[in-house]
């Protein structure tokens, strides 16, 4: 393996880890989609405020995920973002309206009323999860694009990456992408219910049964997950062999077999998620389910990214011109940039440490209504 290949693999792994952490942190969005309910206002306040203290971590992780993709695989950034314009724009709009909603929803003079901002949170909760899932779906099921670098010399029409006229809308209506999107959505809702159980002192007194939500959302998620895995393992993929791309039936299944070490990781992660759901749904007191599902979510998503990108697999297959498909080899930054960024990535453990340290101090006790009422910064 050359130095460039090593760095490309390393950066794909970092992208996979960021993707995994991002999907886990989407519990914030999942929670936002659960705010419309018949629970008393006090219960809703606890839910909003427990989410409001974490929304920026999810938001920041999304931004860093984008930045890391830009730095390490710029051709993906150029092709997917510039091509699937409406898909990404809808995702971005949903995050724009989220970013102000916590701070503004209950402020005097917010002009549009609390309900509008809560609707913004719901839209972000639903659209953000589903469409991010759709975007990840294109990594397996492809997009309708071409890449022609010599176009840059054509003054009248210089764009190198071109997408179908539907500009990403076709990805949104692809049932396979939607299946993944809905799976992410229900996973986020499941994780949100588990997060509430862990971070809020007691919701029972408000008549809110979080454990039944874990069970319902977790069950829907499990069925969607099984469906997605079946579709994925049966799917054809594109692999780069001897100078061109070839269609390989059941490519992702074969990738699992070839890179067998991902099988125990994938199964272990899946079991963690299921165990977290089961323990929390059928216990009256167990509060730590979020840790099981969180770890499981991160591990499963990492393995999915790895089988999408490793083994000369096209991680963004072109349905229009297979030879224009993107792999980690043909879309990456140069060896110098990847090396610089690899040095920069050494700071990641420090970042994780201080986030952990700060939140262990801030979250050492579950949020109570009393604490909330005494706080001078409420959402």
């Amino acid at each position: 393996m050359t130095e460039l290949e090593l760095l490309q693999n390393y950066w794909w792994l970092l992208i996979a880890i960021l993707g995994g952490v991002l999907v886990f942190l989407l519990f914030v969005q999942g929670g936002q989609s659960m705010l419309y309910n018949d629970a008393p206002e006090a219960a809703r306040q606890l839910m909003v405020n427990s989410l409001g203290r974490k929304w920026e971590l999810t938001f920041t992780t999304l931004v860093v995920f984008g930045g890391a993709f830009f730095a390490s695989f710029p051709l993906f950034y150029s092709t997917s973002f510039g091509g699937a314009y409406w898909l990404w724009m809808l995702i971005l709009f949903s995050f724009v309206i989220q970013a102000v909603s916590y701070e503004y929803r209950r402020r005097r003079g917010n002009l549009y009323g609390t309900r509008t901002y809560d609707t913004f949170l719901f839209i972000n909760g639903f659209v953000g999860c589903v469409l991010l899932g759709v975007a990840v779906g294109t990594l397996f099921f492809g997009g309708e694009f071409t890449v022609e670098k010599t176009n840059i010399l054509n003054s009248a029409s210089p764009v190198i990456s071109r997408w179908a006229d539907t500009r990403g809308l076709e990805a949104i209506v692809s049932w396979r992408n939607l299946l993944l999107g809905l799976m992410v959505f229900f996973l986020a809702r499941t994780n949100a219910a588990l997060y509430f159980i862990n971070s809020i002192s007691d919701m029972k007194e408000f008549g809110v049964s979080l454990r039944s939500r874990v069970l319902i959302n977790g069950t829907v998620f499990a069925f969607l997950f099984i469906g997605f895995v079946v579709v994925l393992l049966r799917a054809h993929g594109l692999q780069y062999e001897n100078g061109s791309f070839v269609v390989v039936p059941h490519l992702y299944l074969k990738n699992f077999i070839t890179m067998w070490w991902f099988i125990p990781l994938f199964l272990g992660g899946t079991l963690c998620v299921l165990w977290g759901i089961y323990r929390s749904a059928f216990s009256a007191v167990y509060r730590k389910g979020i840790w099981w599902t969180g770890i499981g979510t991160v591990v499963v998503v990492i393995t999915l990214f790895c089988i999408a990108g490793y083994n000369n697999t096209a991680y963004l297959p072109s349905l229009t011109a297979p030879d224009d498909s993107l792999t980690i080899a043909n879309s990456s930054s140069s060896v110098f940039t990847l090396k610089v960024m690899a040095v920069v990535s050494l700071v990641i453990p420090v970042v994780i440490w201080y986030i952990w340290y700060v939140w262990s101090k801030m979250n050492n006790k579950p949020l109570t209504l009393r604490e909330l009422n005494n706080s001078d910064h409420q959402y």
Binding site: E56, L57, F59, T60, V63, V64, G66, G67, F70, A71, S72, P74, Y77, S78, T79, S80, F81, G82, G83, Y85, W88, L92, F93, V96, I97, A99, V100, E103, Y104, R108, G109, N110, L111, K149, T150, I152, S155, P158, S161, W163, R167, S333, S334, F336, T337, V340, M341, V344, S345, V347, I348, V351, Y354, I355, V358, W359, K361, M362, N374, S375
Partner: protein, 519 residues
Amino acid sequence: MNDLISTVDWSRAQFALTAMYHWLFVPLTIGLSLVVAVMESIYVRTGEERWKGITKFWMTLFGINFAIGVATGIILEFEFGTNWSNYSWFVGDIFGAPLAIEGLFAFFMEATFVAVMFFGWNKVSKRFHLTATWLTALGVTLSALWILVANAWMQNPVGMSFDPAQMRNVMTDFWAVTFNEVSMNKFFHAVFSGWALAGVFVIGISSWLLWRKRNVQAAISSMKVGAWVAAIGMILTFWTGDGSAVAVAKVQPMKLAAMEGLYDGHSGEKLVGLGVLNSAKKPGDNEPEMLFEISVPHGLSILARHDMNAFVPGINDIIAGVDVNEQGDTINTVSYAERIEAGKRAHDQLREYDKARAAGDDSAMQAAADSLAKDFKFFGYGYFSSPEDAVPPVALTFYSFRVMVFGGSLLLLIILIMVWASYKKVSFLERPWLHWAGMLSIPLVWIVSQAGWIVAEVGRQPWVIQDLMPTTAAISDIPASSVKLTFWIFAVLFTALLAAEVSIMVKYINHASKGNIEK
């Protein structure tokens, strides 16, 4: 072709719109993070509870502004991909790195410690909280550093080479990219202007409190901190602005010429203080440059080259490739006509390289690559058909520069008066003209700040990367109608959110000031 131009124009409009909205909130975030850190330091040091109340008052305003700054910021990063996809490939190898570093070093720091600022008062010790507040300010500043490194690199592309095999630029020297001669001035100029803006914001709100005779002691205390931060910020902004002007004169002389509306340069060039441009003036004609002007003799030579007799080239000189060196000798640089020829040659050589590569002809590839390397520094000119294509909008740059400088000077005067006044007797601070000066300085400082951004960004047009890539070549393959639609969505959405932000701030200030801010 027409649709391409339309897409380019709408994409430029959208980027300008989103960047200018973002720039409404960012300088306040930068400066206010410092203001609250200073106030909280006073609280921790003196132990006076009133400073805790004052800190919380300004921290709340910081939080209201921070949220919308985050909301408008996410778009900008992703717009490089959605609307400028060619750019993302052509220089993503270099440009992506500072964006990723910004996220890793700055955004996580902000996101983590800002939560301690707001929710940690009763959960962590005083000193831990103060540390978190300072780390938030540091995170905000680091964010500015990396995004301005990226921006400065676009204006002065260094530390890179062109890889013809991949038809893109690759980084060769990270430190040259980070510390290029534009970036540090740009970074400090932007950060100090943020301090000045936030300081003026504090002065303005404090003036309103004094005018309404509410929380007078808190207002005076806030005024002292705000005025000092503003004064230091504004003085340093002028200082770094001078450094920026010298850098612009060196690496973007066309931008400097546009800032001055200067077509024909001279030795000992005057600086137009106030003036009205002749809108009929075009490069190469004999029309007068100005319809009216009040000038400072030798001013531009001093500003641009720190030499009162230095020659400063105008637009016609730059197009013709004429300059005068320090010894006073006329020298010929490369004219724009020659640059266009060189750019087109570079394009041809790249085509030749590609053909040779397809044919597997290594020697032809090497020959094409060698020829390309000679002309590559003018690669972007190959997209132009005439030298006038490479001239930025002169009027907007010229007038924005004057708004920035004169507005900034007026603000400096007001700020210095406020520093002085805040140490006078309370009776002096009760003068309504002083209150009104403080209050009116709030809109003025935002106008000045936006004008500065216009000078920097409009003045560098038509380049997205100086000399290498014009905006027309940086675009995505999107119909103009789609970009037009997203432009209007952003325009409506951001305007609605701005209205909400201002309304919330006004209500909060009004409501909080009816009680005791110091508690």
